[in-house]
Structures are given as structure tokens and as C-alpha cells.
């Protein structure tokens, strides 16, 4: 059913720490690895070894440069996957009921046997979280590894989304953002976690932790600097002659 639930009991989601992410793309690879051989259709590639490779991914890492008014520019790695929005437009636009949000944990999923591949849900998503699989003709998206997080065949430590389990920097956190006492909720409160494109009214469950302020270089850190003689800026001898001659030309 593509009507959104009134409210979901729990709001399972990710908290992504932009301060910690090193941009290694390990989450991208582990996501593709897990999800191509588990829940739903495989994540296909087209022309994988040719001149124009392209393929379906549920998680991608961008990198942005932020140039403050004063101070040095900062490079910020930016992983992006489905934000499992509370007011998910991708769910309500679906004509077949294939796209749905679960009442019990708020995870947004696609029932691939009902998906007609019209692409409208991807059109309605501001975050680019949904990608049409070119081989299967159905819409693929992050499942929050729904086949891992409740899977009792896995050791408990592995019952988190694949991207979270893999991240070597500990930049990804998984938990119930509907419970104010959960670790992830406390983290969001402490670090002032933010929504992406809040003006779209999607109310994302996933939060992003902004980068912490960087140390500032003090005015003078090299105590020897004042003692160094300035380099002559007027060339002499042959170079001086060359400079003058070239100047005249």
C-alpha cells in the first residue's frame, strides 16, 4: 500500500559522521557486494569492463570542497544513500503499491514483483537514492540491509547494515532514531545532527553529523621566520640584464 503509515513504531536509520568519513568508498563496495547477492534482484552493471562502465549502486560517496569566508578550504567526503524519510514522496507517488514504508521499523522498501519500472519514485526523490536497474527493469534502493539486521543466522555483531559493519573509520552508525534514549539519538543531539534539503519536507530519518571546527593556524608559529633575510627581489648581473631587456621588448 503506498499510503504512508500514520507513524512507525521505530525509526531505524543511519547517522553519518561527516567529520570522520575519510572517503575510502569501502561502504559503497560492501553495500554492492551484500546487496547484489541477497535481497531482491542483483545490482547489475552495464559494460563493466568496457569503455563506458555504469551500474546500479545503493550508496555512493561524493566529495565536496567548502570554502569559508576566511580560513582554508575544507574537503568533506559525503556518503549518500536512502534516508528512509518519514514523509517519503517516493512511497505515495507509486501507482502499484510496490514502494512502501514499513509500520514496524520505518524502513522504505520496494516489492520488486509489483514494480513496473515507471521511474516516478526516483523522480520524486530529491536525494538520488533510487536507481533503476537496467537489467531487471525494477527500482533498486537501500533496504537498510533488512536481511541482516534481524538475521539470527548471523553473529550479533554482524546484525547491522553492511556499510556500517564495513566502515573502517567508524563514520556510520545504525540504530533507532525514534527512541530519544538510543545511542544514535544521543549522538545526533550532542553533535547537532542535520537533515539534507529540509525544505523538501521529506523529514529524513537518517541524520548527518557536521564536521567539527578545525584548528586555526596562529598568526606566527615559526619563531625563526623573522630572522630569515628577505630574498632579493631585484635580480642582478646576467639575470638583471635579461630582465631589463625582456622588459623593453
Amino acid at each position: 500500500m503506498t499510503q504512508l503509515p500514520e507513524s512507525s513504531n521505530r525509526k531505524m536509520g543511519l547517522v553519518i559522521d561527516l567529520d570522520t568519513c575519510v572517503g575510502c568508498h569501502a561502504c559503497v563496495i560492501s553495500c554492492k557486494g551484500w546487496n547484489t547477492e541477497n535481497y531482491g534482484a542483483p545490482l547489475s552493471d552495464q559494460d563493466a569492463y568496457g569503455a563506458n562502465p555504469s551500474g546500479t549502486f545503493l550508496n555512493r560517496v561524493h566529495s565536496y570542497e567548502v570554502q569559508p569566508k576566511d580560513g582554508p578550504a575544507q574537503l568533506i567526503h559525503f556518503p549518500k544513500s536512502c534516508l528512509h524519510c518519514e514523509d517519503a514522496p517516493c512511497v505515495t507517488v507509486c501507482p502499484t503499491g510496490a514502494s512502501y514504508k514499513r509500520v514496524e521499523d520505518g524502513i522504505v522498501l520496494v516489492n520488486e514483483s509489483d514494480c513496473i519500472g515507471c521511474g516516478l519514485c526516483a523522480w520524486s526523490c530529491p536525494y538520488g537514492a533510487r536507481e533503476m536497474d537496467m537489467t531487471e527493469g525494477v527500482m533498486k534502493k537501500c533496504t537498510l540491509c533488512v536481511d541482516r539486521i534481524y538475521n539470527e543466522n548471523l553473529p550479533e555483531v554482524d546484525r547491522v547494515p553492511s556499510c556500517v559493519r564495513t566502515c573502517p573509520a567508524g563514520a556510520r552508525h545504525f540504530g533507532d532514531l525514534g527512541d530519544p534514549d538510543s545511542d544514535v539519538s544521543k549522538l545526533v543531539a550532542e553533535r547537532e545532527g542535520m537533515d539534507l534539503m529540509p525544505e523538501m519536507g521529506t523529514k529524513p530519518v537518517n541524520k548527518y553529523l557536521p564536521p567539527r571546527p578545525k584548528d586555526q593556524i596562529e598568526d606566527q608559529i615559526d619563531i625563526l621566520a623573522p630572522l630569515l633575510a628577505p630574498v632579493a627581489d631585484e635580480p642582478k648581473g646576467f639575470l638583471g640584464w635579461l630582465d631589463k631587456t625582456l622588459e623593453k621588448l
Binding site: G55, S63, T92, C94, T96, M197, Y208
Partner: protein, 295 residues
Amino acid sequence: MHPAPSVILFTTLSGLGFGLLFFLGLGMPDVTGWVAFVFYLIAYGLSVGGLLASTFHLGHPERAWKAFTQWRSSWLSREGWCAVIALLVMGLYAIGAVFFGQRWGGLGVLGAAFSLATVFTTSMIYTQLKTIPRWNMNLTPAMFLSFSLAGGALLAGQITLAIPLLSIAAAVQVLFWRKGDIALKQSGTDLGTATGLGARGTVRAFEPPHTGTNYLLREFVYVVGRKHAEKLRLIAFSLAFGLPLLLIVPPVESTAVKHVLALLAVLSHLAGVATSRWLFFAQAEHVVGLYYGKR
């Protein structure tokens, strides 16, 4: 947005077809027998042909029937219902007109209402998308409806109605372009809000997630057509409204000449609307492009 030929064909043809069905349902022109048969053949050819074209871009057209289930939330589903009801009701009405020489007025008005509702629901599929500011405004349904009515009146031979309707559609088109061009800027969405980093400084896309292209870039970041957009707008406007008006406004004595001029006006209008629809998609900027430093 990627201007998929199937969707351009669909919105152009079915818009015109349902426009014609609207006027036929209201008894304009009041035709029966063979003449009615030809009118309904054209109307159904356009509307059904357009609907079929729209299924070409589906990943799984064999499951298209499932699209009738979610009318409570989905405009695409509502469009499916309106189209089927309009075609069934107008089909019964057409049987009366063609085979029994009867005009079952109530049925015709109902069919006309659903024909217009189909065009409206089509327009709402685009209008509802906040992710595409150029479409997310009241002018989008106004444009689809005014185009459909103008084309329908032209095709139904209602010249006295077609002249004001074409003029209204032309005005809506100009407004849509003018407001559309500043829609993304006015929406307030930029790379700063997309990343949440805007308050810290100027955000620039430094490195994309991959060296190649992907579904998102192919579907949402279509920039090829924007180079000639201004010229294409002029062509679309002249063909859709300018030329048809020039062809139908001057009074003509001979019926044969009148019919030829009307046919030329319809063909010109059709080509113009198709060009305008192409621009509707090709010029639309999806906010996901911002994440890639594009628009």
C-alpha cells in the same frame, strides 16, 4: 530531465485526443453516423495511441494493470482510472452517435468531464514533484489543460472557440517559461541545503562518486538540449499558436479550402506542442543534479 520520446508522444497525442473527446462529449460538433465515426476514430487513435506509447518506457509493461490499485495516493494511478473511465463512457456515447443516430447527452457530459480529468491527472504527475521546481507550480496543470482544450477545439472544428483558447494557451505557455526559468533559484534549494554545509562557506562539488555516468545523471541531468532552447521556444510557439491562428482567423468562403487550412493548423499545432513538450522535459532541472555540481 531526460526527454523520453514515449512520454513526449504520450502527453502530446493523448492531450489532443482527450481534448477532442471533451468537445465531442459536449456535442460540438453535433455529429452522427459516418462523420461521427471518423471523429471518434481520430480521437481514440490519438488518446489510446498516446496511452500505449506511455507504456514503452516501463521496465515491466506486463504488470501495468497493477497501476490501478493505488488511486488513493498516486496521481499516476488516478490518471489510469480517469483514462479508462473516459474511454469507456465516451465509447458508449460514440456507439449511440455512430450506430443509432442518438445523442445521449448525460453520458456525453460525463465522458467530457473524465476526458478533461485525465489531462488534469497527467499534469499532476509532474506538478506534484517538489524535486523539479520548474514543474512544481500551478501553471503546469494550467498549461496541460489549456493546450488540450485549444487543440481539441481546433480538431473539433470549433473555430470560434479555438481562437480564444489558442490565445489563452499561448499566454499560459509564455508565463510557464518565464516563471519556470527562475523556479529553481526561487525554490531556495542549492548545494548548500543539499549537503547541509551551506552555512559554513561556499560548497563546490569536488569529486563525483564515480568516473563514469549512472542512471541518475542519464535520467535527471539532461543538458544537451539547453543550448538551442531559445530557438526551440520560438519554433514551438510559432507552430503551436502563431501559425494555427494565422490559418484559421481570416474568413474563407470555400469549405474545401477551409478544411485544408484547418488540417494544416492542426498539424502545425501538433508539431508545436510536441516541441514544447520536449522542452518541458529537457529544460527541467532535478535537484539531484546539485549533488553532482550540475543542474
